[in-house]
């Protein structure tokens, strides 16, 4: 855990005085232990300065430290577009850099050397070193910089992948529900045009909410409105088989939550708790304040499930609409922290209650 975080290197730092004390006591110290730790710390600093590439603002710090480490007159980091980050007096290196980029091999004139930087065997730039620097040291520095660049790219692609995964985790509209709703509305167009019109307005609201892309967050008021539109449609489809109660305390209406953090839970309750239950069932949705938290509960009186199944569902081993629960769980944890996932209370024959707890005020989370 600690090793994964450059900040964790503070731990070896704290142990630095130990070898020095030994030296004071006249014992044989491990040769160069202090210097090794210093070099390691410098290495970590260089690596983190290169996280955003060779020409990001932080890269000049890396060039400065490399220059000190190599005891060079000057060090220059060159990216593939030829943009340069210098430490020390600039020297003319255009021909050398061109040669390295063309041949992908080390090139030198006098005491100026240019070395290729590679990430995954692809050219990534050039390291220029001026001054009396041993060739081996320059090569090691080039390898180290290449490594740091590689790691930086891995980190940013991991960030991008996480963002993409969060976007992909948006709940999907259930085609099953959409066609049932449209069929029901088509029938009411004949028998009860006014009701057909009302249902179409609810359908528009439901679709609008589900297609929303403009912001990551909505208010609980907005999410509840979409849930009520969904339930109105579901009730039109299922008739008396579905009984519904929605309760919300006004103080939690402005609470910011990710889009569709609630609706998939309600759809799940209707599909698992009511559609499959003989004689139908009831779904209750509530939102209220409890201290600094907002507590939202979605409850059905359907068949329920063994608690182990609920654990499987949250672990992502479920199927069908239960995947909607995992999506919500992950998105809530990603936004509010690991402690803010779903809690499922269930047992066979005892219905299912899914509880969402979110902070009422969370810095940085603002509904659009």
């Amino acid at each position: 855990m600690v090793g994964a975080d450059p900040g964790g290197m503070a731990v070896p730092d704290a142990q630095l005085p130990a070898p020095r004390r030994r030296r004071l006591l006249g014992r044989r110290a491990t040769p160069g232990a202090g210097e090794a730790m210093d070099a390691l710390a410098t290495g970590v600093e260089i690596a983190s300065a290169l996280r955003d590439g060779l020409t990001a603002p932080a890269a000049s710090g890396a060039a400065r430290r490399l220059r000190a480490l190599l005891d060079a007159d000057a060090v220059c980091l060159v990216d593939l577009d030829g943009a340069r980050t210098w430490a020390g007096p600039e020297v003319t290196d255009d021909a050398l850099v061109d040669e390295v980029l063309r041949t992908d091999r080390r090139a030198a004139r006098g005491d100026v050397a240019a070395l290729p930087l590679r990430v995954r065997d692809e050219p990534a730039g050039v390291l220029v070193v001026a001054g009396a620097v041993p060739d081996g040291a320059a090569r090691k520095a080039a390898a180290f910089v290449s490594d740091a660049l590689h790691r930086g790219r891995l980190e940013s692609s991991a960030d991008a992948a996480e963002q993409a995964e969060l976007r992909a985790l948006r709940a999907e509209i259930s085609p099953h529900f959409v066609y049932n709703a449209l069929t029901t509305i088509a029938s009411f167009v004949r028998s009860d045009p006014a009701r057909a019109r009302e249902l179409l307005l609810d359908f528009a609201l439901y679709i609008r909410h589900n297609l929303a892309r403009h912001g990551e967050y909505t208010t609980l008021a907005g999410e509840f409105r979409a849930v009520e539109a969904y339930l109105t449609l579901a009730r039109a489809v299922l008739g008396e088989r579905l009984r519904v109660q929605v309760r919300i305390a006004p103080e939690v209406l402005p609470v910011a939550i990710p889009f569709l953090a609630l609706q998939p839970l309600v759809e799940n309750a209707v599909q698992h708790g009511v559609e499959r239950a003989e004689g139908g069932g009831s779904v209750q949705v509530s939102g209220e304040a409890q201290g600094e938290d907002c507590v939202i509960a979605v409850e059905d009186d359907g068949p329920g499930m063994p608690p182990e199944r609920a654990q499987d569902v949250l672990a992502g081993r479920g199927t069908g609409t239960s995947l909607g629960l995992v999506n919500v769980d992950r998105r809530l944890r990603a936004v509010f922290g690991a402690g803010y996932g779903l809690v499922i209370e269930t047992a066979p024959g005892a219905g299912t209650r899914v509880v969402v707890r979110v902070p009422r005020f969370h810095p940085g989370v603002v509904a659009s």
Binding site: L200, V244, V246, R247, I248, P250, E251, L253, P254
Partner: protein, 260 residues
């Protein structure tokens, strides 16, 4: 509220069924005197110059000159009509308010939402002409109790219920019958945190502890002195007022639980 004549409105939309639908909704809406239709921006401009409508309901995405451009032109008139945008997609909301629209409707439009938009149009048109709010005469209401006159403080009233020409004021301390039509009471109390939620009920926004819905049309506002039915056409305004009040933190003071 702009006198007895009612609003004269123009609807502009290039999609014919959408234009028909909006005209139909406006003709059915109370307070609308006349409705004209235009299928494009140029026809609309000509009609605006000849008939000078009070309000224009304007589609945003149209071929040729779009709604935002037309609104920009209208903004340079000396006495421009009030503009309400109507659109299928909400990406334009910010620019719509930028050109001075008073409201922004999403298609398909519900009758309740249209009523709210007309209310805004009327309020905007009345601004300036409206007299300063009258002295707050009804901050306390005299009631007869055992032959003596006492005063019920408005702040104690959770909701008022119409009973013919009387209203029954519901407070934590009890219920009091007062001779005043609920519409008169509404005029006095509307600006100070009360909202009409039903033909027979006027509700204190701060008194709502919970909204309860069975999604088949029944909506109740729960207060500590009883539940108040909310009719479908008033539901939206109540929800908006509750969200506004909650956003301002008005439910966090604990005041309502103390009855103050």
């Amino acid at each position: 509220m702009t006198g007895t004549s009612g609003l004269r409105v123009l609807v502009v939309d290039d999609v014919a069924p959408a234009l028909d639908e909006m005209c139909q909704l406006l003709r059915e809406a109370p307070g609308v005197a006349s409705v004209e239709a235009a299928g494009d921006a140029l026809t609309a401009l000509r009609l605006i110059q000849t008939t000078a409508p009070d309000a224009v309901f304007l589609d945003i995405s149209m071929p040729g000159m779009d709604g935002l451009e037309l609104a920009g032109l209208l903004g340079r008139m000396t006495d421009p009509p009030t503009i309400v945008f109507v659109t299928a997609f909400e990406q334009h909301a910010v620019s719509a308010y930028g050109v001075g629209a008073v409201d922004y409707l999403l298609k398909p439009v519900s009758a309740e939402r249209l009523t709210a938009a007309l209310g805004r149009v009327n309020r905007v048109r009345a601004t300036g002409a409206a007299p300063a709010p009258a002295v707050d005469e009804l901050a306390a209401v005299p009631v007869e109790l055992g032959g003596r006159t006492r005063f019920v403080r408005r702040a104690d009233v959770r909701f008022a219920e119409a009973q013919g020409d009387y209203v029954r004021l519901h407070t934590r301390g009890g219920r009091h019958l007062v001779r005043i039509p609920i519409s008169r009471l509404e005029e006095h109390w509307r600006g100070v945190g009360y909202v009409r939620v039903h033909r027979s009920f006027l509700l204190a926004v701060h008194a709502v502890q919970e909204l309860r819905s069975d999604v088949s049309g029944g909506l109740l506002a729960h207060t500590d002195v009883g539940d108040v039915p909310v009719s479908r056409r008033h539901a939206r305004e109540l929800r908006d007022r509750l969200l506004d009040a909650a956003t301002r933190g008005e439910f966090d003071s604990g005041a309502r639980r103390d009855g103050r």
